[in-house]
């Protein structure tokens, strides 16, 4: 209840501070990132594994949705296609790491992400290659979602559904299996939990949520290019979970607020600097890295326990 009130307060505050259209547009991104963050919360916080290439799942969702809409498919059904594609890729990406667990998952998801990124550039006929691809606005029952308010409403609805689904999953047999594997894999196996299966499903759910977020992101941004989904995105999502807290689902929402707000804050800070002080692209990297390092050094075990 308290977090719901804080959220409403946050929405009101954002709209007041940034203006209606811009504020709601940013909040739509917050809700979209939060959906992707939920997937990582399940992988990292619930089942205790690591994904170093989560950007690939967003990429697959975004490009599937773009392709589906371009072929004339209804956008809402496209979300389901993206969801299925993400789940499949998540399960596949986790297969090579299954025998080792832990860091091996990080390595296999990293490899899959780098392969996906290269494939997006290489198969330019389908994906527009490095020059990118434009995505038409989402249409729901003949009604185009272009207004920031509507975009926010759609993202918030998807986020709410994802939160409810995740909560139900966590309270199910599968959720208990994830936590058992996270806390002690040997003991979990001895108690009859199929650890390999639980980890596979964690990556499938995580990949599906990532792809769902990617599909929404494709519509909100209206333009896709492979470098948006590179290693940097994967690490931003990891930072999102680290800041928000991997141990609870709402952590993804708070982390998403920080991840969307941070580049804005850095841009504001940059504008206060006199012109020509230094190369701006470099300063932004330094600022982002500095925040990341400061946060990790301040609370090495995660901001929220």
């Amino acid at each position: 209840m308290r977090s719901a009130l804080t959220l409403i307060g946050l929405v009101v505050l954002t709209v007041l501070a940034l203006g209606l259209d811009y504020g709601l547009g940013q909040l739509a991104f917050v809700a979209t990132w939060a959906v992707a963050g939920l997937g990582l919360v399940i992988i990292l916080g619930q089942s205790g594994q690591i994904s170093l290439g989560h950007g690939a799942f967003l990429a697959v969702g975004a490009y599937l949705q773009a392709g589906w809409v371009a072929m004339g498919g209804p956008a809402l059904l496209g979300l389901a296609v993206a969801l299925a594609g993400g789940a499949l890729l998540g399960a596949l990406a986790s297969l090579p790491g299954r025998r080792l667990g832990g860091l091996a998952f990080g390595m296999s998801t990293l490899a899959v992400a780098l392969i996906v990124e290269e494939a997006l550039v290489r198969f330019g006929g389908l994906t527009g290659g490095a020059s990118g691809l434009s995505v038409p606005p989402m249409t729901v029952a003949g009604w185009a979602v272009v207004d920031p308010l509507h975009q926010f409403a759609v993202s918030a609805a998807v986020l709410a559904l994802a939160l409810i689904a995740c909560r139900r999953l966590l309270n199910s047999r599968l959720g208990r299996a994830w936590r058992a594997v996270r806390d002690d894999e040997g003991a979990a196996s001895a108690s009859g939990v199929d650890a390999g299966h639980a980890k596979l499903l964690a990556f499938a759910v995580g990949g599906a949520l990532g792809a769902l977020a990617g599909a929404l992101y494709a519509h909100w941004l209206g333009y896709l290019s492979p470098e948006q989904f590179g290693l940097h995105l994967s690490f931003e999502l990891l930072m999102l979970v680290f800041v928000g807290g991997a141990s609870r689902l709402m952590g993804a929402v708070w982390g998403a607020v920080v991840i969307v707000a941070l580049p804005q804050a850095i841009a504001l800070l940059r504008d206060t600097l006199p012109d020509g002080v230094a190369n701006m692209a470099g300063l932004e990297l330094v600022a982002f890295g500095l925040v990341l390092v400061a946060v990790v050094l301040w609370r090495p075990a995660g901001l929220v326990r």
Partner: protein, 287 residues
């Protein structure tokens, strides 16, 4: 023709291998998964370029100072920051090193001279080519291979014959028992990061005659992960061999497979290695 491809593959593979070596060295000793080896490599190469081009030092002195300087920097960063990630889940070290890497890359990018022109490190004796029979051999490639062999021999000797090397090995095997035997484990973590940073810098300097020195050259370190995985994640010689293996496989893929396949060869090999050889391709004996 095939010999030439193999040779250039081995030379590239030596670079991958050196970076993988630095990664595995750090990973074994401190359990930290480092995403900043590429940036350490880039900064090392830039340090050597700056000392020769801007300060006018002789090349070999600049190279030596750059490598030693990066070792000190690695030790310093371990003392100040990376130590905090000890004993935490992998995510902490991953994010911390990635953030430090961003700071290094951003810092170099802010220097206008670093981004406005491509730099080359004029290592004497490593420019040009020689003809051996029908074979045209680039001296830079030979130099990379020779330098890798020499530095690995030096590293092997260090691990085998010096007290510090033995202590570092003991600490990687079992930190608790090593501590009981009087090894300062925290000192060993610092030493591991210093060695790791120095090796990465060396790889960057060796890369300089083959490619140009630029702020994004650190992406080459992504190939260190496949090399380390193929080498079994815990073996120094395995990491080096994995690097050479990947370099050769990439060179062959670039020649015989459709365009673009060589960009993903390393990662496909990594997935195959994880699936079929989880203890590494060269894991002969159980440890």
């Amino acid at each position: 023709m095939i010999l030439q491809i193999l040779l250039s593959g081995i030379a590239t593979g030596c670079i991958y291998g050196l970076v993988a070596l630095s990664f595995v060295l750090v990973y074994k000793a401190t359990e930290a998964v480092s995403f900043m080896q590429g940036e350490l490599l880039m900064v090392g190469a830039f340090a050597a370029v700056a000392l020769t081009a801007a300060a006018g030092w002789p090349v070999w002195l600049a190279v030596a100072v750059a490598v030693v300087g990066m070792a000190l920097a690695g030790a310093l960063v371990e003392r100040l920051a990376l130590r905090r990630a000890m004993g935490q889940p992998h995510l902490t070290a991953v994010l911390l090193t990635f953030g430090l890497g961003l700071m290094l890359r951003g810092g170099v990018t802010t220097v206008p001279a670093a981004t406005h022109s491509a730099h080359q490190l004029p290592l004497p004796g490593l420019m040009g080519q020689v003809e051996v029979g029908t074979l045209t051999v680039s001296l830079a490639h030979l130099g990379v291979i020779a330098a890798t062999v020499l530095s690995c021999a030096a590293l092997a000797a260090f691990f085998r014959f010096s007290r510090a090397g033995l202590a570092l090995r003991a600490c990687s095997e079992n930190p608790r028992i090593a501590a009981m035997m009087g090894v300062s484990t925290s000192g060993m973590h610092t030493l591991a990061w210093a060695l790791g940073a120095a090796l990465a810098a060396l790889a960057g300097i060796l890369m300089a005659p083959v490619t140009f020195v630029h702020p994004a050259m650190g992406v080459v370190a992504l190939k260190a992960f496949p090399a380390a995985v193929i080498g079994g994640m815990h073996s120094l010689s395995g990491a080096l061999a994995g690097g050479v293996f990947i370099g050769v496989a990439e060179a062959l893929a670039g020649r015989y497979l459709p365009e673009g396949a060589n960009h993903v060869t390393a990662y496909v090999l990594m997935l195959v290695a994880l699936l079929c050889f989880p203890r590494g391709l060269f894991a002969g004996r159980a440890t």
